[in-house]
């Protein structure tokens, strides 16, 4: 028996309601799941390697993680285990994993799939560029450095005590009494010297014990 026009319309409306409720429900669940997290892209070669982030298995592609430190591990038979510590922060992040072949089969696979490795390395290159930009974003003062005047020089170097590599040490080279002028210069740029790790070259604190 053929369904009537009215029955067809009822079915269409029913399906429409289910679809709309599904879309609304999905939007709510997705929004709640992504709160306080940042998008992270995982790019891995070979694609079928097992990847875990802090012990949780992940797939290649986009996922959402809370900002913080993560241990990334990747394993695949015939390839060397891959381990990486990465700090995920509040901007877009990419985790690039290019596994090193160990067995003969794995080496053959890599030889046949050089394009995939090159593509992954290109993503890694973009990530490195983004990291450089991120370093400047986190330490915007570096865009003004080194700064040289007749009386002083202000430079910077990475703070090796910070394993994230994101901290800097400001270095001031000046004779007495111009060191204060160099500090004032930092304030004049709109930065508070309190927030920096500042070292003076060719200087001995008279109060040092």
């Amino acid at each position: 028996m053929e369904p009537t026009q009215a029955t067809k319309l009822k079915m269409v409306i029913f399906v429409a309601i289910v679809v709309i409720l599904g879309v609304v429900g999905y939007a709510v669940v997705t929004t709640l799941n992504q709160r306080g997290k940042v998008p992270v892209t995982i790019s891995i070669v070979p694609e079928d390697a097992q990847v875990t982030v802090n012990g949780v298995q992940m797939k290649a592609g986009e996922t959402y993680l809370k900002p913080g430190g993560y241990e990334i591990k990747a394993t695949k038979e015939g390839f060397a285990d891959f381990n990486l510590s990465k700090n995920i922060d509040s901007v877009d992040n990419t985790i690039v994993v290019s596994m090193t072949p160990e067995s003969k089969e794995a080496q053959e696979w890599v030889a046949e799939n050089q394009d995939k490795y090159q593509e992954n390395e290109a993503i890694g290159g973009e990530e490195a560029q983004e990291t450089g930009e991120e370093f400047s974003t986190k330490n915007p003062i570096v865009k003004l450095l080194p700064h040289e005047s007749l009386l002083y020089t202000i430079g910077y170097r990475s703070d090796l005590a910070d394993p994230s590599g994101e901290s800097i040490i400001i270095e001031i080279d000046a004779e007495e009494p111009y060191r204060q002028q160099a500090i004032n210069q930092i304030s004049e740029w709109g930065y508070d010297p309190t927030d920096f790790n500042i070292k003076f070259r060719n200087y001995k604190n008279p109060f040092a014990s």
Binding site: I13, I17, I20, L21, V24, L32, D192, P193, T194, N197
Partner: protein, 214 residues
């Protein structure tokens, strides 16, 4: 048929409104206010989005808080203005972002109170300073000394004693802390006080002392 369409539209509208309402409700979080000993109350304001970072323009007053209490607040920027005879009335800003939070309303003392307290503490501070660093007694003069926080922090600049005032020298910044009735020099005087070196000193005190000039 019309009835069916109306019911369908109603269900969709209710679903969308419910989802919106759920999102709204889930954006509220519990904020606990922990008052300092000398704080008798506070006024809570919401920072107007267009005026974020500009507290010269008052935000929207939300409510008075008369004792350490909990308030349910939506995600966003807020500030409280503490009340109390001795305490500073400076804003204390905080942000509610997707989770419950505790806000410490433990301001330092007001400038007037700190000035009067400094007059009493000055001899003890300078004696302790010179005892800890004899070089100060012989070669330096403490200037622009002031108390900070709850009158338990002291900051000043140390200028070199020179025969000719045109002989400009580096000047140093000193921070001292009062604990168990005694004043102690923190670290050693420096050209600039950084939070990296003075980890145990509240950063707002370092900022204030770094602003002192000859």
């Amino acid at each position: 048929m019309k009835k069916l369409i109306i019911i369908a539209i109603s269900i969709i509208v209710i679903a969308i409104i419910s989802a919106f309402a759920f999102m709204q409700v889930s954006s509220y979080h519990k904020v606990t206010f922990a008052f300092g000993d000398d704080v008798t109350g506070a006024t809570l304001f919401r920072i107007k989005e267009s005026e974020a970072g500009n507290h010269e323009i008052a935000g929207d007053e939300i409510q008075k808080i008369t004792a350490a209490s909990e308030v349910s607040l939506q995600n966003g920027g807020y500030y409280v203005v503490p009340e109390g005879e001795k305490v500073s009335k400076s804003d204390i800003s905080f942000t509610v972002a997707d989770q419950d939070t505790t806000v410490d309303v433990k301001p330092g003392y007001s400038d007037e109170f700190l000035k009067s307290a400094y007059a009493k503490e000055k001899p003890a501070i300078e004696a302790a300073m010179k005892q800890a660093l004899p070089l100060i007694a012989s070669d330096y003069t403490p200037e622009q000394g002031a108390l900070y926080g709850k009158a338990d922090w002291y900051g000043a600049i140390l200028t070199k004693k020179v025969a000719d005032p045109r002989d400009e020298r580096d000047f140093y910044r000193i921070v001292m802390h009062k604990a168990n009735g005694d004043w102690k020099v923190i670290n050693q005087p420096e050209l600039v006080l950084t939070s990296a070196q003075f980890k145990d000193v509240p950063v707002e005190i370092l900022r204030s002392v770094n602003k002192l000039t000859r």
